[in-house]
Amino acid sequence: MESKVRVSFTVNGNAHALEVYPMARLLDVLREQLRLTGTKEGCGEGECGACAVMINGEIVNSCLVPIAQAEGAEIKTIEGVAVGDQLHSVQQAFIEHGGAQCGICTPGMVLAAVDLLSRNPQPTDDEIRVGLAGNLCRCTGYMKIFESVVRAYQK
């Protein structure tokens, strides 16, 4: 049995210093220790994107990040996308255009879309597909999500 270590990082601007097992998944620390349950677990093996978060401005699958690798990181989760009650244009577009159904993929999809539009404010259709390619949805058939992203940047 190995011992816990102290890992310090910020989540949505809030500083945390936690005693954790170093191989604990960032996903589990977010959900179970910090109670940020917006980040979902889908496959647990980096295939579905439901657990996506941003680390230092890059989208990653939090199920594949051991917490020791979060030392010093600035993490953003779905809970940090809206500013107060002000939804991000991507979130608003998902609501207005049926981008969310059961909701499990939605946090990851929204983060992938926010990430895409932050790097590329006017993406082509192909660029949107690449931007969302790491995220699986079992409800929408993808078109509603795709349309939501298009509407988000047209606003």
Partner: protein, 285 residues
């Protein structure tokens, strides 16, 4: 069923030098842990049998891409995203950039590293065929110094490699070679995320219609990412016509050893490998 998290150790050395000391001073205790995109999948499946890891991900001294007159050199922690963003790689080593863009989705590409892809040693990995076709060289570092080895021949059997327990893969070097045509094709179940059924990378240079230089490598058709030198030898110095392409595809069938597994079948892989080779050679002349 996940691996038992408290049984794992993941410590962060302050530098490559410290990592090398740990590897040397506690023989076989430590293994490097880079972006985690393969190892964390094993952890989740309770198949991560080794317990003690060095977290090399934060070692920025291994994350760079430099270009000189003869080579492009990548730090072993260069991510797939880093690879795709490099202008010289995009122009002169397009197969490596294509492999990077077809590995996982963006979230994987931001975390997966070239060095990790090599050392994980999956025969189905996407960058090794491109690296083999580009005649990559690897820098292996230890407390005793560094040595360069050819990537061709580095994989010696399923998950077996020519690297000592006290060595760390630190750099990957690609010789700049003008005048090549490049062909890279990954065949998987879907465009994004899928692990390959077959992957072929090939470069070719013709003088008139004669094959002056050719290098071919395949993934998912053998216990290792396979450079197909027997097939290359059939082609080199010969006139590239349909008869030669036929001969080459027959030689390829004798050189590879695909199997049935969860992703595909032996017969399909054989057929597709031959078709990809024929497509590569047909497009290149």
């Amino acid at each position: 069923m996940r691996g038992y998290i408290p049984s794992y150790q993941l410590i962060t050395p302050a530098s490559v030098a410290e990592a090398l000391s740990l590897l040397a001073n506690e023989p076989r205790k430590w293994k490097p842990f880079a972006g985690g995109t393969d190892l964390m999948v094993l952890l989740e499946a309770a198949k991560l049998s080794h317990r003690d890891y060095l977290n090399i991900w934060p070692l920025n001294e291994l994350r760079f891409i430099t270009v000189d007159k003869s080579h492009v050199t990548l730090g072993a922690l260069s991510t797939y995203t880093d690879v795709q963003a490099n202008e010289v790689l995009r122009t002169e080593f397009p197969m490596l950039c294509q492999a990077a863009s077809e590995t996982g989705g963006l979230a994987i590409q931001n975390r997966g590293t070239l060095g990790g892809n090599i050392i994980n040693a999956s025969p189905a990995a996407d960058s090794p065929p491109a690296l083999l076709a580009y005649d990559a060289q690897l820098e292996l570092s230890s407390n005793g110094g560094t040595r360069w080895v050819s990537y061709n021949g580095f994989h010696t059997g399923y998950k077996q490699m020519g690297i000592r327990y006290d060595e760390l893969l630190t750099r990957i070097r690609l010789p700049r070679t003008p005048g090549l045509t490049h062909y890279y094709r990954k065949v998987g179940t879907r465009k994004a995320q899928a692990i390959s059924k077959v992957c072929l990378a090939g470069v070719l240079r013709l003088r008139a219609s004669e094959v002056e230089d050719v290098r071919i490598a395949l993934g998912s058709v053998a216990p290792i990412p396979l450079r197909c030198e027997r097939t290359e030898n059939v082609l080199r110095g010969r006139n590239l016509d349909s008869a030669l392409i036929q001969t080459a595809t027959e030689e390829l069938a004798a050189e590879i050893s695909p199997i049935d597994d969860i992703r595909s079948t032996k017969d399909y892989r054989l057929r597709v490998s031959q078709n990809l080779l024929a497509d590569f050679l047909t497009r290149s002349h």
